[in-house]
Symmetry: C2
Subunit: 417 residues, 2 copies
């Protein structure tokens, strides 16, 4: 079987499974999730064995220590996957929700009701836990999932996906509710993202190269999680001490995440805040890069170039500039932002309202850290990613965002006039 | 200026205009729509002059009478465009609607609020009224519009778009709220659908060739209006007379529309209905093509091939088959349907519920004609098309579907724990 055939056959099987899932109850889908939990807990040794083979191959291939760590499955990480599935099973049923209901003057009763999306293709890189997390979220929302993970984790992914299919079978759902592409040829991704006859949505999870390649070449719709070039603006008036703490949180709590702040803009009338923030960040080990006014106001600031303000560091580095007005801050943020998350710190409700109205990003914050952009923090539970799409879903993508709707109408033998 | 430059410059201008539109009030946008109405009414002669040049070129190029009729702008059709804009201005404001609001345990207040999509690119074929209708719907929802019409109507389209831009200017909005690509080179479409840096959504309006080319090649998300291969299933029990009337409505009221029925499936225990429907359709001038059991039951039925059931006739022709069960009807409909609109006629609430649950189409009807799939019939007012997408919007796409949302959160100097 060549890669084209493999993708096509598995996509068709997943499409059939999606048809079976469409009419399942929340209880049946939760039974499938709980069967997955049992399979994973009961097969920890087999999972670790497959993972050990991936680790050996990774070491031979000279993967970095960081990549090897991402690849590694320990008892604790396996248990985390099981607990994650249990939490997903506890979420509210996302299907059959009546979004609107109206009776037209002619008597036609029209209801708009949530239904599954269909087949969701996940293209992801090294972390094998994505296999389980993504499948759990997709199944909860009544979708079949077609997985295509990176070659480093392929043995772990195949082992995990096999367990998930076993679990589906145990509760009388098709094994193909979870399908995995076993070939790791690049062409597999290309085939998958062009299979719009069978695949309803592609969610790419990985670096910018992967995401761009998917967006450029897909005929299947893409829910993309692009880079997070997040900005904070500190206005002329704000609570200095607490702003310092929030900026510290946004930069240092987990600098490698997409909702960490990368650029800081401070109003020229609030150099006190600028100095306090920069000193605090430096004390926390952050490298501060600034424009000339920042270098004049603060010690130990490296020069910041235009390129710096366009860089998602994902590290303990921040670019800082001074602005003359809220308007200038908004213009600079609109210029550099990836439309993910931005925050304003100000005592002016008016300025916060203007920031909210004029900046066109998925998530905006007034006096709160950008780190809140997260499914858990938003009360959605687990998320499959943070969407930087404008269509369908923006910001955290949880189970409800993995659904669509249909229109169900009933009449008394009605014809259109 | 070559075509690449033209598309790029106009897309950038539209993006800037979208920034200005983002902070407008509903009143300002309605003022723009009413200024458009005045411009169109006041410039009917200039519009007809440009249209006459299109008509002359069309005649020279040997366009069919039907195409020439679609191209023609009369006083009445110009007035219809003006009235259409007035109606759109009357719609409810789609922006700033709070879709959800929640306060998290840590005090973070999170609101999900509707905002414009940004820049909407419309790729369309000959009818020049689309220029005005589409622009009106886009502007109402706070979006800038980038128009790319067919070459047959290019002079009419340029004249109309110029008037729309004039109107924007009169109410202090940028002219570029409405931009039109003047070159009709094929490459213009290609450039536009790849301009994902500036264009947020492409809506192709036209034949299947156009739509497939856009879906295959776009990097911008596409809201597609694919073919409407609509199905009706007549169950074992139903009100015979009224079912006959509804099927007649679905087939003959406007056979050239996407919501007209193309395939009819009748339960084997209801041959009385089959005979009555076929005779009624034939009396209305419909060519009935049927499988063997249909030919046995009814007179003057031409043989129907598998290909017939996969054909969107858009004409007074219908394909008919007999099925042994609801299950078989559902399977056949799932096989041939374009997931647009399907109807069941039955006295069984249980069978209707199963039809609704198992068939995965945008619009499903119980005892009502498929012809109801329409923005006006759904109470949305005008529509920009009927979406056969699964993401973002399904079924009729009105003003609310031309928006997205952002998350606006406020805290009391909150850090994430």
């Amino acid at each position: 079987m060549n890669i084209e055939q493999e993708v096509r056959i598995k996509a068709i099987r997943a499409k059939c499974a999606a048809g079976a899932l469409r009419t399942t109850s929340d209880e049946q889908r939760n039974d499938a999730l709980m069967a997955m939990v049992r399979e994973i807990r009961g097969s920890a040794e087999a999972i670790k064995e497959a993972n050990a083979a991936d680790m050996r191959a990774g070491e031979e291939a000279g993967l970095s220590a960081a990549l090897l760590d991402r690849l590694l499955l320990t008892d604790e990480r396996i248990e985390d996957m099981a607990v994650g599935l249990e939490q997903v099973a506890d979420f509210a049923d996302p299907l059959g929700i009546v979004l609107s209901e109206t009776t037209r003057p002619n008597g036609l009763l029209i209801r708009k009701v949530t239904v599954p999306l269909g087949v969701i293709g996940i293209v992801y890189e090294s972390r094998p836990n994505v296999t389980v997390d993504a499948a759990g979220l997709c199944i909860k929302a009544g979708n079949a999932v077609l997985l295509r993970g990176g070659k480093e984790a392929i043995r772990s992914n195949i082992a995990l996906a096999g367990l998930l299919s076993d679990a589906c079978e145990q509760v009388d759902l098709p094994r193909s509710c979870v399908e995995i592409i076993e070939s790791t040829d690049r062409e597999g991704v290309q085939e998958m993202i062009r299979a719009d006859e069978y695949v309803d949505l592609i969610v790419p999870r990985g670096g910018q190269g992967l995401i761009r390649a998917v967006v450029e070449n897909a005929s299947v719709p893409v829910l993309k999680h692009d880079r997070g070039l997040c900005n904070i603006y500190v206005d002329a008036t704000c609570d200095l001490q607490r702003t310092v703490a929030c900026v510290n949180n946004a930069k240092t709590q987990r600098p490698g995440t997409c909702n960490a702040v990368e650029n800081l803009w401070v109003h020229v009338d609030n150099l006190a805040a600028l100095k306090a923030i920069v000193a605090d960040l430096q004390a926390a080990g952050v490298e501060v890069r600034g424009t000339e006014p920042v270098q004049e106001a603060c010690a130990n600031v490296a020069p910041a170039t235009e390129q710096d303000f366009d860089t998602e560091y994902l590290d303990l580095i921040i670019s800082v500039d001074v602005v003359n007005s809220l308007q200038q801050a908004i213009a600079q943020i609109q210029k550099f932002s990836s439309a993910h998350s931005e925050a304003i710190f100000t005592d002016s409700a008016e300025n916060a309202a203007r920031f909210f109205a004029e900046i066109d990003s998925a998530c905006l914050y007034h006096n709160a850290s950008t780190r809140f952009t997260d499914g858990g923090q938003f009360g959605m539970g687990a998320e499959i990613g943070i969407s930087t799409n404008r269509l369908h879903a923006r910001g955290p993508v949880g189970v409800p965002e993995l659904t669509t709707y249909k229109w169900l109408s009933a009449g008394d033998y009605l014809s259109r006039e």
